[in-house]
Point group: C2
Chain length 265, copies 2
């Protein structure tokens, strides 16, 4: 089942995708809901990020192929292979929806990269769960883009703006609740050119392992988002580009790229 | 004016402190509100953290006296004096209220320290403001404790659990809206022994400078919290301790310390 969050006039509602229609639901996607008789044309609604999370988590380096590149970005040697997830918080303010623009800050040096990732959606309060239990706390999966300003990533003490500037966390288009996250293909395209390809089978730590790890010290909440980590070497996106994160079986997260309007110049 | 957030039965309400009473208000503390005829005895309500923020910010090293100590914790040389704030996000999950316990995780090695700090409360959406403008976006000030597990702080790639474990962000007891933040005394006591003393005049970056810095790439929201950074050398807190962060003119944030109950042993 694919569950989308969207705007209908002033209301924010959830719907289940059926063909090219969204069937509005009543209740909570995290507990119980039922279909209503109200439907919306998918093409006519404004999709939002599938949840309004308290926190957005990333696992640290989670693909072997990304290690050497990450070392270069940080101006360091290739980091050792992590023996456990090294979670960090991506800014809640950075969250943005499908088809919304990724806005490159006007004071960025322009080395802003995509990182296409799969994203787990937490379904209920989750603390001190084992990896074996963790799947029961995941509602489903969606696509995410861990947009990263490589200059700030190398220069700052934390990722606060490198990966946390406004609009740097596109997530969507919806949550797929019936999919095996252990072997998902993922493709990123810039203007239809394929620039990243990976499969979640190459994650060093699986989603259940990452969720279990975070839950040891932190209570995860319904709607919280957990990114997979990214693979390989990435390239810059430019104003005017169209970026797609495509996970067959889930859907395509598409965002345009814009330069922040500088009202002072 | 002192504005507190508290629980009244199932309701969460705001009130203005008058003597030993809280006068309930109607409206939003961030825009317009008025007093009502409903009062509550301060001694009978359960105070909550003064806001329910989207993000909790800390400025990185912000007191010269903390530099050498921070280097030791991270297993590094004394860091250079920062030339700009180095913000990072303290976990939203970590937020806890006055008089609630700080819970030391059962898998901590026990080297968990207080860091008494002043905290600015954001009043409205804030993006690309100058330091001169920033004060207009601050509603007032409260007390905070940047609780820190020094072992995890030295070992992990980020502060996700070292400073972001559940209950590691006590904030309160209320917001003081009429106070000059540039010269606040701050004292931390453990079981009535004074263990930290500082003054906000020694902040390397003032609150308006920190808020301005964050706002360049990140939209701050009403209720967001911005910590001052901590000073000096700290010591461990232990189960059974009572920790107080006292800023004369604002109030005292008091929390007990407990060890996480291990239901499996």
């Amino acid at each position: 089942m694919k569950i989308a969050r969207f705007r209908d006039g002033k209301r924010v509602v959830y719907g289940v995708l059926q063909g090219d229609k969204l069937v509005e639901i009543r209740g909570s996607i995290f507990s119980k809901f039922r279909m209503t008789d109200t439907t919306h044309d998918l093409s006519k609604v404004r999709l939002l990020s599938p949840t309004d999370p308290m926190e957005i988590w990333c696992p640290g380096l989670n693909f072997l192929e990304h290690l050497e590149f990450a070392g270069q970005v940080l101006g360091q040697d290739t980091p050792p292979i992590p023996t456990q997830p090294q979670p960090w918080r991506k800014g809640r303010n950075a969250l943005t929806g499908p088809n919304d623009p990724i806005i490159i800050p006007k004071d960025s040096e322009g080395d802003v990269h995509y990182e296409g990732e799969a994203v787990a959606v937490i379904s209920k309060n989750c603390r001190r769960v084992t990896p074996a239990e963790a799947s029961k706390y995941i509602l489903g999966y969606t696509c995410g883009n861990d947009v990263s300003d490589r200059t700030w990533q190398g220069k700052d003490w934390s990722f606060w703006r490198a990966k946390g500037a406004d609009t740097f966390a596109p997530v969507g288009p919806w949550i797929e609740t019936d999919i095996d996250p252990s072997e998902l293909d993922l493709v990123v395209r810039i203007n239809s050119d394929q620039v990243q390809i990976c499969n979640t089978r190459d994650m060093l730590f699986t989603f259940p392992e990452i969720v279990s790890c975070i839950s040891q010290q932190v209570t995860l909440r319904p709607g919280d988002l957990v990114f997979s980590g990214a693979t390989g070497v990435t390239v810059a996106i430019r104003p005017g580009d169209k970026v797609e994160v495509d996970i067959p079986g889930i859907g395509v997260l598409e965002n345009s790229v814009e330069l922040e309007f500088d009202s002072k110049h």
